[in-house]
Structures are given as C-alpha cells and as structure tokens.
C-alpha cells in the first residue's frame, strides 16, 4: 500500500525530519487537489489545516472594497501554505486561491497540534521550520515595503 510518507520525506519543508516524526505526520495527512480559481481557504474561517504544495500555484489574497482581491504572495512546488493553525484563535487572516490546478498534501491542524503537544521534539522541530518560513516571509514583506524598484536611477 502506498503512503504519503515518501512524498512528505522529499518535500523541502520536511526534508531531514526523523523517521518516527514523519510517521506521525502521515497520520494527519491527506492528498487534496484544487482546480484553478478554487479557494483553498477563506479569511475568517477556522484554520484547521496547513498545506504542503506538490505542484501548481496558490495565491494568498486580501479583499478590499473598491480594490477587489489583491494577490499578496504566491506559492508553488516546494512551498508551505498557512501558519494560522499554529496560534489561537486559529482563523485564516487571508484568502488562498488556486491560480492553476494544484496538488497539495493537507495536514489536519487539530491532529498536528495534539501530536506536537504529546511529542515536544516533533513540536520543536516543526516550530523551527515554521520560524524559518516566517522569517523569510517577514524579510520579503519588508523588502516589498521598501518599493525598491520604484527608486532606482
């Protein structure tokens, strides 16, 4: 029987994770697929999953009256989508919409939180990896705020 373990083990976000931790993750994981235009999650909904992208593209969007939906960031193969599941009140802060047909592995948030509470080594390992992602995205946001390309010359 095929499991998701080899796919998870090869994903950049989880590469190098200990075997027993991978096995714990597999218990919370399922394959999901979104067609182009479909919402992966909506702002304000309960953040009950996070996603490991296998292929395709997802845009994280904010909706503002008069402006419509504005894509803030896009994620593709090798990326991770969502960290609102980590912290109360466990609600999505933005919308996420598939820009093209997208395959992901969905990890159930309650299941993950329970396993992290029961196994702090797993929890710490995941927190370190998410901290790295958050740091990269904070850097990118700061850079975008600088509006660098508008000031060259």
């Amino acid at each position: 029987m095929h499991t998701l373990e080899p796919i998870l083990a090869e994903h950049p976000f989880l590469k190098g994770l200990r075997q027993e931790h991978l096995a714990l993750l597999v218990g919370c994981a399922s394959n999901v697929r979104f067609e182009a235009g479909a919402f992966v999650f909506r702002q304000g909904q309960e953040a009950n999953h996070f996603f490991i992208l296998r292929d395709g593209k997802v845009a994280v969007e904010a909706f503002a009256p008069q402006k419509g939906a504005v894509a803030i960031d896009t994620y593709g193969e090798g990326d991770v989508l969502g960290w609102s599941w980590l912290l109360p009140p466990y609600r999505w802060r933005f919308d996420a919409r598939a820009v093209e047909p997208t395959r992901m592995i969905s990890l159930d948030a309650r299941c993950m939180r329970t396993k992290c509470e029961n196994d702090h080594d797993l929890g710490y390992e995941l927190m370190k990896r998410f901290a790295g992602i958050i740091e990269q995205r904070l850097d990118a946001t700061r850079w975008q705020l600088l509006d660098l390309y508008g000031v060259r010359d």
Binding site: K57, A59, I72, D73, Q144, L148, Y149, V151, R152, D153
Partner: protein, 289 residues
C-alpha cells in the same frame, strides 16, 4: 574593449579623447513601460560598428541638458545600432525620452568592465534582474543565446514592481517559449488579471533549476535586492567568486579620473560596473559609502 592611457582612450581601433562625445542620431525611441524607454542610435557620420562587451555603459549627452551614464541594452553581436534602455527619472533622462527619430545625441564610451561571459562558458548561467536592472543584463542574454552550445542551463529570474513595469515583456515571453532557457518572473504587487508569481525575486532562487557546483550568477538591480539575492544564491551553494553584480554610482568622467563614482578603493566606472561579489561584498553593507 577599451583601454585607458594618460591622454587618450583607444576605442574600437580609433584613438580619440575619452571626454569627446561622438555624434549619434536617434533612429527610434520605444516606450517600454510608463517610465522606461529604449533609444536606438546610429552614428551621425560613417558606418563604423560600435563594439562593446555585455555590461559596459556609455555616457549619453543630451545637448544643452547634460550627460548621464546608461548601460548598453542591445545585442553585442548586432552592431548596426547602439541600444540603450533607461527610465525617465531626472532632467537628462526626461529630455532623452522626448527625443525623436533624427535628433542628435552625444555618446562617449564604451566604458567599464562587463559581465564575465567568457568565464561563464561551460557553466550554468543564472541571470537575476530587478526592475530596470534587466537592461544591462540583456546583452549577456543575447550573447549566451547566440553561443548557446557553450553554456549549460540558462535561467533568468526577473522581479519587478507590478505587471505593468515588466521590461522587455514580449522578449521575456519569447525566451520563455524556447526549450533551452528557463524564465521566471515575479512582481511585488499584483494587479487585476495577473496570474503569475507574486513576491520578491529572491523567492525564485531556491527553486531555480541550476547545478550549484557549476554555475555563474549575474545580478543587476537595486543594491539591497542584489545583496539579498547574493545571500540567497550563496545559500543555494554558489561560491561568492561565481557571483557577479553590477554597481551603480554617480559616474561622470567614465575613466576613473574625477572620483565621483569612487566606492572604497574602486572606481565603479573603470573597475566596474560589474564586480565579483567577493570583491565588493563588504562595501555593499557599509552605509557610509
């Protein structure tokens, strides 16, 4: 190539003062984006080809307004016209944008050290450009594509402000359609209808398909963008001595005499504008320079 002596600059086989502009006639002006434009120039007299290396720049003089350094954005193998792309952001470049076919312009150059296209032979080539920084890199892309069998994988990573600010858009689309080059574009701010990547250009580096053990990377864009891109390339495993970037300073004379473009011990106009990253790394993060 050009070499400097005390009195003269030997350019394209002909000796003349490096401070004396040649007269060129505007053949065409292309609007690229809201503020970026391309000038195609031809010699006002004679038909000698204008030889240059990818990454070199010229001093362009708009009569009665002033002179500015502009990188050459044309094909180093196609010397029928001299091509420059820049943005209209100051008095001289705004006047330049207002030029029309038949108008005259002064040209001094070519100046500076270009991209390491010869050293990159046998390697994968990664070109990372930000905003108008794609213009100084375009001659490299032309050269690499004209000599495609001498290089490994060729990857272009391009980031800009919005979809409307994408420089050479049709050309990027044409390159992307080729089977022997990878092109990835991202914008900082999406607009309606944009289904491409959103986010800073460094995000493209981790997924770019190249062999870190045999890659030469060339970066051009705002300095902060180049600094973070170089760090990301190093994180991917490219050694600092295989990363090159193009610096921009207030260049005036073009031959390392006036000192306007001094950056540490280097003169950007003469020792650059292209530098190896390990030679310039310390200066990139020093705010006093």
């Amino acid at each position: 190539m050009a070499c400097v002596t005390d009195e003269v600059l030997v350019m394209n086989g002909a000796e003349q003062s490096p401070m004396l502009p040649d007269l060129y006639k505007v053949r065409q002006v292309h609007r690229e984006t809201d503020d970026a434009f391309t000038l195609e120039l031809g010699r006002a007299a004679g038909h000698q080809p204008f030889g240059f290396s990818a990454g070199q720049f010229n001093m362009l003089y708009v009569h009665g307004i002033g002179e500015v350094p502009i990188s050459i954005s044309g094909d180093p193998g196609g010397q029928a016209t001299l091509v420059h792309t820049t943005r209209a952001v100051g008095a001289v470049t705004r006047a330049m944008r207002a030029l029309r076919a038949g108008d005259m312009l002064g040209v001094r150059g070519p100046f500076g050290v270009g991209w390491p296209v010869a050293q990159a032979e046998g390697h994968d080539v990664v070109v990372v450009a930000g905003g108008i920084g794609l213009a100084p890199l375009r001659p490299t892309i032309y050269h690499v594509l004209a000599n495609r069998d001498r290089y490994g994988r060729v990857v272009i990573l391009y980031g800009t402000r919005t979809p409307g600010d994408i420089l050479f858009r049709k050309q990027l689309e044409a390159w992307r359609a080729r089977l022997d080059i990878e092109v990835y574009v991202t914008v900082d701010r999406a607009t309606e209808g944009w289904n491409g990547n959103v986010g800073v250009v460094t995000k493209l580096v981790p997924k770019a398909p190249f062999d870190r053990t045999r890659t030469v990377a060339m970066i051009c864009g705002p300095e902060i963008m180049m600094r973070f891109t170089a760090l990301e390339l190093e994180r991917r495993g490219i050694d600092a001595d295989h990363i090159y970037l193009s610096m921009e300073r207030n260049m005036k004379c073009g031959i390392g005499l006036c000192g306007h473009c001094q950056c540490g011990a280097a003169f950007i106009c003469k020792d650059g504008p292209v530098f190896r990253y390990d030679a310039i790394r310390e200066l990139l993060s020093r705010r006093e320079i």
